[in-house]
């Protein structure tokens, strides 16, 4: 039809934003399957309806703001999925809806949608629910309650004076009480391995985050594996801290980001009344991203100038 003229390059990678989001959703599939396996068909209900709510809310906001429909990039579905995975199995569906309303409506779209949000939407949604519905958000059930209508309430392994203890193997496989997707470290690592292979996940944040947790656990004489596999550390470290939009762009910024999140998580776990510090450490680190990026640029310039022998003007 016609000759097109643009600036170079004239060929583009096939890895577009929607494909990246799709791969992350795929990577969370093992964790979703284990959730259904351990917590029954109710888990599937929560996951599917959360994703549907997220997409519907995104679409409605697009219509209200009279902008282009952005549901096809997959970011809304992903937020819904991650939010579902960090909710307890016995959560009522209407609370899931409110969580998504906060996540997509407040955390994402008041800042301008994908690419502009300061906070991880799923983390904001969960934090809101945690504060607004503390009882529903801390009612845990024992796993393997296959299709049983009566949930056996329990506490997580991270609770202070926990009545429930679990072996490291149980924690690794996921047969412990906890949020839907966060119990099985194995399933999450499997998904993260896929993302590594696809070069979507960068090693810097998970490695620095888990490294910091291990170091602090060793200093305070806790079992480091316990702190890695219990609670939301795996889900948070592999899928929430590494959220592109709310983590630093610079290499050194990302390492500092992981270290900071590790320190915050461990301090909240060990020295606060909260049983779990992952959620709030993600949000606190999200605020610091611009600062960390500035520091990252300064470190980058110093190293670059040294390496290339650039003299200051």
């Amino acid at each position: 039809m016609s000759i097109i003229v643009t600036s170079s390059p004239h060929i583009r990678d096939h890895n577009t934003t929607d494909k990246v989001m799709l791969h992350v959703i795929l990577a969370l599939l093992p964790a979703s399957i284990t959730a259904v396996f351990f917590f029954g068909i109710g888990a599937l209900n929560i996951i599917v309806s959360s994703m549907a709510f997220a997409v519907i809310i995104e679409y409605a906001i697009n219509k209200i703001k009279k902008e282009k429909t952005t549901i096809y990039d997959g970011s809304a579905a992903l937020t819904g999925l991650i939010l579902a995975l960090c909710l307890p199995p016995s959560i009522p569906i209407w609370i899931v809806f409110i969580g998504n309303l906060i996540a997509i409506g407040i955390a994402k779209h008041t800042f301008g949608g994908l690419g502009h949000n300061i906070f991880n939407p799923a983390a904001v949604g969960r934090a809101f629910l945690f504060v607004a519905y503390p009882v529903a958000m801390t009612t845990w059930i024992l796993p393997s309650a296959w299709f049983s209508s009566t949930a056996i309430t329990s506490a997580t392994v991270l609770a202070k004076e926990a009545p429930y203890s679990a072996t490291i193997y149980q924690l690794f496989m996921g047969s412990v009480p906890g949020s839907l997707g966060e119990t099985s470290a194995f399933a999450l690592l499997l998904g993260a391995g896929w993302l590594f292979y696809k070069k979507i996940l960068d090693w810097k944040i998970p490695v620095s985050f888990f490294g910091t947790i291990i170091v602090i656990a060793l200093i305070t004489q806790c079992n480091p594996f316990f702190h890695l596999f219990a609670g939301g550390a795996m889900l948070g470290g592999l899928f929430m801290l590494t959220d592109y939009v709310t983590s630093p762009v610079t290499k050194h910024g990302r390492i500092l980001f992981g270290i900071g999140a590790g320190i915050l998580t461990m301090s909240l776990r060990l020295f606060s009344t909260l049983p779990e510090g992952m959620n709030f450490s993600i949000l606190l680190m999200n605020i610091m991203v611009p600062l960390l990026d500035n520091m990252g640029v300064i470190i980058h310039l110093k190293l670059y100038n040294k390496r290339y022998g650039v003299k200051k003007q």
């Binding site: 170079s8 890895n15 949608g113 939009v245 290339y308």
Partner: protein
């Protein structure tokens, strides 16, 4: 990245179809445009000087055919602007000037050899078209000479064919380069997807001292000067390789030096890859400089219903053309007809892929937004290529560069 070299890498170089009218611009190199010394209705021969170098940082331009000068007027250049161009009508007789081959180059001094190279109008044939005599005119000892045969741009196979078919001429040129620069070591860098070339170069180079053929991983932009020097010698180059005692020359340039010294004829033709998924027939053509694109793209069928791009050079760094009367220049390594892959620019999702993949270790997103270190960018295009949101990073960095240049200009005033 899809390299798509199979289209043409096994096709022998053939003579390009003759063009009736040739357009030879006075500016085909980095530096000052050459001074045109012919006028309308002059008769010229093959190899005759038609525009002479304007100062040291410039290059001579010769006629590639014999015939009548039809006009001297502004004509479209591959960079998209209009520049003064000598239009020559090809009489197809190819009367050649009396060439004086240089049989014994060792009887000449280095300065004389460099002057000869300037006379032949030789510039860097890899695409950057830096005048070769300027590159060779150095007053400091050189540790390494690196010959760039990486040809990392997808589709292009011009250097590939040259290394296989013209190996002897290449080594003739290399001897001259070694004589001028007297380096401690000479490396020839070739990407490992061109085993045929590595084999040919190794077989021929067996009699040469201090020459080693390096097989480099196939990873764009392996052939970028800074990347090549880093990967072969481990040295980091900030501005020019000569700062760290290294000279990088393209295989095409070296072969052209060998050829010009043996035949006595200046740079009047080059190998051009004519390729792309939208072309039925693909070629490696030996093209006379100044041949317009339309005479090299005979059959463009099935394009009536499609959006497509015509590119001078490779798909990563080449420029899209809008007028097919644009001529092949000294730096045109390929003509590609490919699908239009441009998409609407999305929002940056801060994935950091541009930062992780930048071959010279910049922060492309910061360079595009704030111009941070923008002048160090070599515009290889990898960041734009990898961007999942299709942000036109390179285009933005170019805009930042222009801004910085403008400010620098105003400061000087």
């Amino acid at each position: 990245m899809k390299y798509n070299k199979l289209f043409t890498e096994n096709l022998l170089t053939e003579q390009a179809p003759e063009a009736d009218i040739l357009y030879i611009p006075a500016c085909q190199h980095i530096g000052a445009p050459a001074k045109i010394i012919v006028k309308k209705d002059d008769l010229v021969k093959v190899g005759e000087l038609i525009a002479e170098a304007n100062g040291h940082f410039s290059s001579n331009i010769h006629s590639s055919v014999s015939g009548k000068v039809l006009d001297v007027k502004p004509h479209i250049h591959t960079n998209g602007s209009k520049v003064m161009t000598i239009v020559i009508e090809n009489d197809k007789k190819y009367q050649t000037i009396s060439a004086k081959p240089i049989k014994d180059y060792k009887s000449l001094s280095k300065e004389e050899l460099i002057a000869k190279i300037k006379e032949f109008g030789i510039v860097g044939l890899g695409g950057a078209t830096f005048p070769t005599h300027v590159k060779l005119d150095i007053n400091k000892p050189i540790q390494e000479v690196i010959i760039n045969g990486a040809e990392c741009e997808p589709y292009l196979t011009a250097d590939h064919r040259l290394m296989v078919e013209d190996t002897k001429m290449f080594y003739t040129g290399l001897e001259i380069i070694q004589y001028i620069l007297n380096p401690e070591k000479t490396y020839i860098g070739v990407e490992d997807n061109k085993q045929e070339c590595i084999k040919a170069l190794k077989t021929y180079g067996i009699n040469f001292n201090n020459v080693s053929v390096c097989s480099l991983p196939t990873k764009y932009p392996q052939g970028a000067e800074k990347v090549l020097v880093k990967n072969i010698t481990g040295k980091y180059v900030h501005k020019l390789p000569v700062d760290v005692g290294t000279v990088v020359l393209n295989v095409g340039t070296v072969t052209q030096i060998g050829k010009s010294f043996t035949t006595g004829l200046p740079l009047i033709d080059r190998i051009v890859t004519v390729s792309g998924e939208l072309l039925d027939k693909k070629y490696n053509f030996r093209v006379k400089i100044g041949t317009p694109f339309n005479s090299l793209l005979p059959s463009m069928s099935g394009l009536e219903t499609k959006d497509y791009k015509i590119i001078a050079g490779g798909p990563m760094m080449g420029t899209a053309q809008y007028d097919l009367s644009v001529p092949v220049l000294k730096g045109t390594s390929g003509i590609l007809v490919i699908n239009n892959n441009s998409k609407e620019e999305g929002t940056c999702i801060r994935c950091g892929r541009c930062v992780d993949n930048c071959p010279v270790g910049l922060l492309p997103i910061a360079a595009a937004k704030k111009g941070l270190q923008a002048m160090d960018c070599m515009e290889c295009g990898l960041c734009s290529h990898n961007c999942p949101a299709n942000v036109n990073l390179v285009q933005r960095i170019r805009q930042q560069k222009n801004k910085i240049r403008k400010i620098a200009c105003e400061c000087k005033k």
